[in-house]
């Protein structure tokens, strides 16, 4: 049973429960009022209405599961960084489960802080930037399915998932630079302005190798939907013939998600906190959380495109396989983060345009060659 049927079942049960009230009101109240409640009851029980509500419920479920996973990611991030740095990670809060509740404690702390808006900041941009940033990031995690049966569907028929999901995910991924630029500029601070500009330059120059590599994957799979891409990997994962593509994709994702070594917009040493300097309280918490969401989304994309998605031996359910692979990719990202220094702006642009772009094109040629030879 897939997620759509599950949520449809829930809505069906709920509607039946509530319709008792509407029909009873329709019987009791006389005249037009009674007809009105009757009509509401009939509308609620109609297939179109229930389908829409089912889709809302399943999106909610997918997003909640993804966000709880992001909390897990943040916990792993802090524990792993602790072990790399030779100390314990979070230890005391949630003592017996290894400090997992530290995230909630930090969230509560950020909630009670004072929220300050700088006087000369451009209010519209300042208040709008976090909304766009976190909104687009949550949209991405909603689109990526966990397995064949656990994702968001677009039609009433089960089994049909968002047709251009992969392309939609990559497109929404790229909305974030605009919000970063907006945040950096509207804070009325020279440091954040520099941070915003750097971020725009970085993201723009690393989008192109990212998309070229994704195109090579689409070429081999023959479709733009996640389910088809993962199904096309049933013989061999795409990561093995397209090894160059895997490396290029991971480096570009590191640049998109802004982790060290591509940490320039948020470089602590020079720019205090970069483009998030003027944000306090829960707004800053949202930025922090969103970085983790985007890291998770990146890991999920790499898994789906190159590492076989949710395929694996059947002892463990598919969703767990997907998550395990995403966690492994995330761990490799974190390992890279704490081992390497930061690159400079012009060096980063140099790497992006001079090294990664030719490699991405080469990867595309390999994929095209493999497709024409009929191996996929």
């Amino acid at each position: 049973m897939n997620l759509y049927e599950f949520s449809y079942g829930i809505i069906h049960w709920l509607v039946n429960l509530v319709n008792n009230l509407w029909y009873w009101l329709g019987d009791v109240l006389p005249g037009l009022l009674g007809d009105f409640f009757d009509a509401i009851g009939r509308f609620a029980a109609s297939h179109g209405h229930m389908a829409v509500m089912a889709m809302l419920v399943e999106s909610l479920i997918v997003i909640i599961v993804a966000l709880i996973n992001v909390l897990n990611f943040i916990w792993i991030f802090r524990k792993l960084s602790g072990r790399i740095f030779d100390f314990y990670g979070p230890y005391y809060v949630g003592y017996r489960i290894g400090g997992w509740l530290q995230n909630l404690a930090d969230g509560v702390k950020l909630l009670v802080k004072e929220i300050i808006v700088p006087m000369k900041a451009d209010k519209m941009g300042y208040l709008l930037a976090p909304v766009i940033y976190i909104g687009s990031s949550i949209l991405i995690v909603g689109i990526i399915p966990f397995s064949e049966n656990f994702g968001i569907s677009t039609t009433r028929e089960p089994g049909q998932y968002v047709p251009g999901a992969a392309l939609l995910a990559l497109a929404v991924f790229a909305i974030a630079p605009f919000s970063i630029l907006l945040a950096g500029w509207s804070s009325n601070n020279k440091y954040t302005l520099i941070g915003g500009m750097r971020s725009a330059a970085q993201m723009m120059s690393y989008e192109i190798p990212l998309l070229l590599t994704a195109v090579s994957v689409f070429l081999l799979a023959g479709s733009l939907s996640f389910v088809d891409i993962v199904d096309a990997q049933h013989d061999i994962w795409f990561g093995i013939p397209l090894l160059i593509g895997l490396v290029v994709f991971m480096v570009c994702l590191a640049a998109e998600v802004e982790i060290i070594p591509f940490d320039l917009p948020e470089a602590e040493a020079e720019l205090v906190e970069g483009w998030t300097t003027e944000y306090g309280g829960m707004r800053f918490g949202l930025f922090y959380f969103t970085t983790a969401i985007r890291a998770y989304a990146g890991g999920a994309l790499v898994t789906a495109f190159f590492l076989g998605g949710w395929q694996g031996p059947a002892i463990i359910p598919d969703e767990i396989w997907f998550l395990i692979k995403a966690y492994i990719v995330y761990v490799i990202f974190q390992w890279m983060t704490w081992s390497l220094p930061r690159v400079r702006v012009d060096q980063m642009l140099g790497v992006g345009w001079k090294r990664l772009l030719p490699l991405a094109v080469l990867n595309l040629l390999i994929a095209a060659a493999m497709k024409t030879l009929g191996w996929f």
């Binding site: 790399i84 100390f87 940490d263 390497l340 930061r342 690159v343 400079r344």
Partner: protein, 360 residues
Amino acid sequence: MAEMWINMGPQHPMTHGLWNLRIKVDGETIVDAQPEVGYLHRGIEKLAEGKTYTQIIPIADRLCYGSSMTWSHLYCLTVENLMGLEVPERAEYIRVMAIEMQRIASHLMWLAAYASDLGLAAGFTYTMRDREVLIDLFQALTGGRLTYNYPRIGGVAHDLPANFERDALRAVDYMETRLKQYEDMFEGSKIFMMRNVGIGILKKGDAVNLGVTGPSLRASGVSYDLRKDMPYSVYPEMDFAVATHEDCDCYARYRVRMDEMWESCKIIRQSLKKMPKGKWRIVAPRTAPVGTGLGRVEDPRGEGMMYLVGDGTDRPYRLKIRSPIFVTVSAAPKILVGYKLADVVAIMGGLDMCIGEADR
């Protein structure tokens, strides 16, 4: 984009001390720079005029809290020069060993700050953890962790504690294995080399003209080390080499400091082996003769100098301190112009700023 002045500091998370660096940027390229120091001025030279000679030793420690043994040793050398005292040999060997341990600890702290500035956060914790080994040795020797109050006028405060030689040799062995690992971790990383090679060139002539001393000068190819050129204490008996490097960039400064750490390990081993038995302190006279005293040492950051005028009482008339960083920071405009904004941290970090001694 138009040119604008940016203030890095005084409140900045990573400028190693309280100072302000005003940079004029054109886009991302630096056009001009103006350092401003003086935020940490504590009036040490004036404080010293009202205290007796022994009471100034803990205050001289606090000049540069990153390498405090050097400054109290320098002060004691100056007073001994003024009074014409001869310090027992065992005390000299203990002092040299303590100074070289302090040199390693100071360079490790520099490396920690430098690595974390460049973004390599793991470098910070690893080097600080190794510095703890040395700080534990100091704790057993002197009783304090960061400011020691150990040299006295006429020797050192007390003798080495039990088992100190065994612990010190073990620490030096451990330090040498870790230094090898640091070289792998830093120089084995291409990004680190990209950030450092060719950045912040300070030519030989400019360095000598501006009065820069210490590792920054030796990285520009000038072989000038006070321990060899104007030896003090028992340095003539120690066998070590002076570390220099021919490129004048940030990588050269990093390399010179790593080499200095290797040489310091050698010196510590030699001083422990050659240490004679005997007295470690003599009674110094309370009042100083009328006259002047001068002391110069090779601080981990450069050449430190103190000048003391005595007037026949038990308090000094004037104490003048020459700090190496105060002079080196004035070289900032020369080094920074032409590089990018992201290079400021690499360059100024490579000069090892400790503002405590610049502002006195």
